[in-house]
C-alpha cells in the first residue's frame, strides 16, 4: 500500500517537473512562435540566480519564487529587444539566433561561475510514508506546478491582458487595428515566458548539481512536451506532461532509468505519428 502511494507521488512529481520545464517554452513557442533553443539556458540562469541569492544570505523561497523569475524575465526582455523582435515570423531564423544565444549564455556562465558544479540543498526535509522515505521537496514541486497551471489558465481566460494576448496571437493585424501594439504584447509575452523558464530553473536547482551546460538536459524534454501538447497552451501542457510523466516514471520503476527515457521518446514519436497536430490538435479543441 505504502509503495503505491510512493509511486503515485513519484508519478505526480514526474508530471509536475515536465510542466515546470515546459511552461515557459509553451508560452514562447506556443503563443509567439519563437523556437527558443536558449530555453534551457534561461533555466540555467534561473538556477544560478537562485544559488547566488541564497549564498548572499537571502531566503531560499524568495530567491526561487521572486528573484530568479525577475532576473531571467529581465534577461528575456533584453534578448527580445535586441534579437528576437527582429525575427518574428521567421521560425528558422529564431532557431539559429537562439542557438547562438544559448552558446553565448553557456560561455558567460562559465566565465562568471567557472565550469564546476555548484548547488544548494533542498529546503524541505524528507519524510516517511509508512516504511518509505520520500523527498519532501517533491510535494513543493507538485504544488508549484499545479498553481502555475491555474495561474496561466486564469490569466489567459480571466483577465483583459490574457484576452488581448490571445487575440494578438490569432490576428496581430486586427489587434493593431483595435489599438493594441503587437510589438508591446509580444515583448510582454516573451518576458512572461522567460520568467517562467527562470522559475523552473530555480525550483529544480536544489535537486541537481548545476553546471553552465545544465540547460541542455531540459531542452529536448521541453520541446517534446510542448509540441506533443499541440495548440492549446494549458490543456496541451497538462495532457502531454501527464502522458509522458506517467510513461517515464512507470518504465523507470518497472525496468531502469535508461528504459524510462527511451519509453518517453518512443511515446513521443508514436504520439506525433498518430496525432501530428499534438494532443490538443485533436482533443480538447478550442480550449486554452
Amino acid at each position: 500500500m505504502d509503495l503505491y502511494v510512493v509511486v503515485l507521488v513519484e508519478v505526480l512529481y514526474g508530471v509536475a517537473s515536465l510542466i515546470l520545464i515546459s511552461a515557459g517554452l509553451s508560452i514562447v513557442f506556443g503563443m509567439i512562435k519563437v523556437i527558443n533553443l536558449a530555453h534551457g539556458e534561461f533555466m540555467m540562469i534561473g538556477g544560478y540566480a537562485t544559488i547566488t541569492a541564497v549564498n548572499l544570505g537571502m531566503n531560499v523561497f524568495v530567491a526561487m519564487l521572486v528573484i530568479a523569475p525577475a532576473v531571467v524575465g529581465l534577461v528575456g526582455l533584453v534578448v527580445e529587444r535586441l534579437v528576437i523582435r527582429h525575427l518574428y515570423g521567421r521560425l528558422v531564423d529564431t532557431m539559429l539566433a537562439t542557438w547562438g544565444l544559448s552558446l553565448f549564455f553557456i560561455g558567460l556562465a562559465t566565465m562568471i561561475f567557472g565550469n564546476t558544479t555548484t548547488g544548494i540543498s533542498t529546503p524541505i526535509p524528507g519524510f516517511a510514508i509508512g516504511d518509505y522515505q520520500v523527498n519532501g521537496y517533491n510535494f513543493f514541486i507538485i504544488v508549484v506546478a499545479a498553481l502555475l497551471l491555474v495561474a496561466m489558465l486564469s490569466v489567459l481566460k480571466g483577465t483583459r491582458a490574457g484576452l488581448v494576448a490571445r487575440g494578438t496571437m490569432q490576428g496581430p493585424d486586427m489587434a493593431a487595428a483595435l489599438g493594441y501594439s503587437p510589438d508591446r504584447i509580444y515583448m510582454a509575452t516573451f518576458f512572461c515566458g522567460s520568467a517562467l523558464s527562470g522559475l523552473a530553473g530555480a525550483i529544480l536547482a536544489p535537486l541537481v548539481g548545476l553546471v553552465p551546460t545544465s540547460g541542455g538536459a531540459y531542452i529536448a524534454k521541453a520541446f517534446i512536451t510542448v509540441i506533443a501538447g499541440g495548440p492549446s497552451l494549458v490543456a496541451g501542457l497538462l495532457s502531454s506532461a501527464s502522458l509522458f510523466g506517467v510513461v517515464h516514471q512507470a518504465f523507470t520503476f518497472a525496468t531502469s532509468p535508461v528504459i524510462g527515457e527511451v519509453a518517453l521518446l518512443v511515446a513521443a514519436v508514436v504520439l506525433l505519428r498518430i496525432l501530428p497536430q499534438g494532443v490538443t490538435g485533436t482533443f480538447f479543441k478550442g480550449k486554452t
Partner: protein, 406 residues
C-alpha cells in the same frame, strides 16, 4: 616611419624570427616534457589542477638542478575537453615538438586517442588518472588506482559497517560498467550479494524513482560509482529524501574532482570512499606538498586525487631519467621496470614491472564536513585486476586494453 604593407611584413617577419630564437636555443639543451590536458571546457575541474600539479613538479625538478644537468621545458596543450584535439595535439607533441615524454590524458577516451600515436613514434607516455584498468602496453606507465585496488579495499570496510545486501548504482559507460562488475565480485567474495544494479547515462539527474526503488529492495548498503555533475544530484536527492541516515552509502568516484566540496556537510557526511590521496592525509609528505602548492598558487583547496597522481607521475619519470642517466626511451623503461619507487604526497608509489601500473597506498576514508577523513591506510596495494590479464615481461609486444572477465 610610414605604415605600408612592406614595412609591416618586414616587421612581422623580424618579430617572428625573434620569437623563434629562444625556443630553438632552449630546445638544444633542455629536456622537453609534453603535457596534454583539458584545462578548459567541461573537464577543466579535473584538468586545471592536474596542469598546476605538473608545473609544480617541473619547477621543483628545475630548482633542484634539472635532469642530467639540463632544465626541463614544458610543452603544454589545452585540449578543451574535445577528444578530437587529443589526436591533433598528440601528433604535434610527438612529430613537431619531438618531446622526450608525454604526461596527460584524463578520460579513458582521451588516453585511447593518443596512446597509439605515442607507441608508434616511440614517445614514452604517462597516464596519471584513476581509471577502469586493463591497459597493457609497454610504452605507457599508469599510476592512478584501478577498480581492484580501490574496490577491494572499500567493499569489505563498507560491508562491515552495514551488511551483506548491496545495491549498485553506476555510470553507464565503460568505467561504470567495469567497476560495477568488480564491486559485484568483491561483494560476493566477502559473503554478500548484489541485490540490484542500475546504470545511468551521464545526463540523468533525476533519481527520485530510483531512490524509491532502492527502498522497495531494502539493501544494507548502496555503492555508487556515478560520474559527473548530473550524477551529483543523486547524493543531494538521497539526502533530501532522508535516506542518508537509513542506508549507508559508498562511492568510488565521489571526490575525485573535489565534488565533496560542493555538497553540504549534511548531504556528504558519512559517504565512504577509498583513494590514493586525501587533502586531509596528515603525513609530513602531504603537509609539505600542500605548503609548496600554497606557496606557488596561494591556496591548496584545488588539490585532488588525480592532480596528485599527475605530480607523482612526473616525479616517477624524473627519477627514472636520473637513474638511467639518459633520456633514451629503452633506458628509462629499463630503470622504471627495475621496480622504481618514489615517495609522493600520497605515500610510496612503486612501478609494477609486469603491468606498468602502480603499486600504491589506498586510504579508506569517510567524507566529513567537506573533507575526507582517513579511517584506515592499506599500504602498497597491487593492481591485481590488470595483473590478472597483463604480463609485459613475458609478452612485451602486447598492445591491448583487456576487458576484465569475472
Amino acid at each position: 616611419m610610414s605604415l605600408n604593407r612592406r614595412n609591416i611584413l618586414t616587421g612581422a617577419a623580424a618579430a617572428a624570427s625573434v620569437g623563434m630564437l629562444p625556443r630553438v636555443a632552449m630546445g638544444a639543451d633542455s629536456v622537453k616534457l609534453g603535457s596534454i590536458l583539458d584545462t578548459s571546457g567541461i573537464f577543466d575541474a579535473y584538468g586545471t589542477p592536474m596542469d598546476m600539479a605538473m608545473r609544480l613538479a617541473v619547477n621543483e625538478i628545475n630548482a633542484a638542478g634539472g635532469l642530467l644537468g639540463r632544465q626541463v621545458e614544458v610543452v603544454a596543450y589545452d585540449t578543451q575537453s574535445d577528444m578530437a584535439l587529443y589526436t591533433q595535439y598528440g601528433q604535434r607533441l610527438t612529430r613537431q615538438d619531438q618531446v622526450d615524454v608525454v604526461h596527460g590524458g584524463i578520460l579513458s577516451a582521451s588516453r585511447e586517442a593518443i596512446r597509439q600515436t605515442m607507441r608508434k613514434t616511440r614517445t614514452l607516455y604517462f597516464y596519471n588518472v584513476l581509471y577502469e584498468g586493463g591497459v597493457c602496453d609497454r610504452n605507457i606507465f599508469i599510476n592512478g588506482v584501478t577498480p581492484a585496488q580501490q574496490v577491494e579495499a572499500l567493499v569489505p570496510y563498507a560491508m562491515g559497517k552495514s551488511g551483506k545486501a548491496v545495491y549498485i548504482l553506476a555510470a553507464d559507460y565503460n568505467y561504470g560498467q567495469i567497476t560495477a562488475r568488480w564491486i559485484q565480485k568483491f561483494v560476493a567474495d566477502n559473503g554478500g550479494h548484489a541485490v540490484g544494479v542500475d546504470f545511468f547515462p551521464l545526463d540523468v539527474s533525476d533519481f527520485g524513482s530510483t531512490i524509491a526503488k532502492i527502498q522497495t529492495v531494502g539493501p544494507d548498503l548502496v555503492i555508487a560509482p556515478l560520474v559527473g555533475g548530473a550524477h551529483l544530484s543523486f547524493f543531494r536527492q538521497w539526502a533530501a529524501a532522508g535516506m542518508k541516515d537509513r542506508i549507508p552509502l559508498a562511492s568510488t568516484t565521489m571526490g575525485v574532482g573535489n565534488e565533496h566540496k560542493v555538497l553540504t556537510p549534511e548531504e556528504g557526511n558519512g559517504i565512504m570512499v577509498a583513494y590514493n590521496y586525501s587533502q586531509e592525509l596528515d603525513t609530513p609528505a602531504n603537509n609539505a606538498f600542500k605548503e609548496r602548492w600554497s606557496a606557488a598558487y596561494g591556496d591548496s583547496s584545488l588539490i585532488h586525487e588525480i592532480a596528485v597522481s599527475n605530480y607523482q607521475g612526473v616525479m616517477t619519470w624524473a627519477e627514472a631519467v636520473r637513474q638511467a642517466g639518459s633520456l633514451d626511451r629503452e633506458a628509462v623503461i629499463a630503470s622504471l621496470e627495475a621496480g622504481l619507487s618514489i615517495d609522493g604526497p600520497a605515500g610510496t608509489v612503486t612501478v609494477d614491472p609486469k603491468t606498468h601500473h602502480a603499486v600504491l597506498d589506498v586510504h579508506i576514508m569517510e567524507i566529513e564536513d567537506q573533507g575526507m577523513r582517513v579511517i584506515e591506510t592499506l599500504p602498497q596495494r597491487q593492481p591485481i585486476d590488470t595483473q590478472a590479464v597483463c604480463d609485459l615481461q613475458a609478452n612485451p609486444d602486447d598492445n591491448t586494453q583487456y576487458e576484465i572477465q569475472i
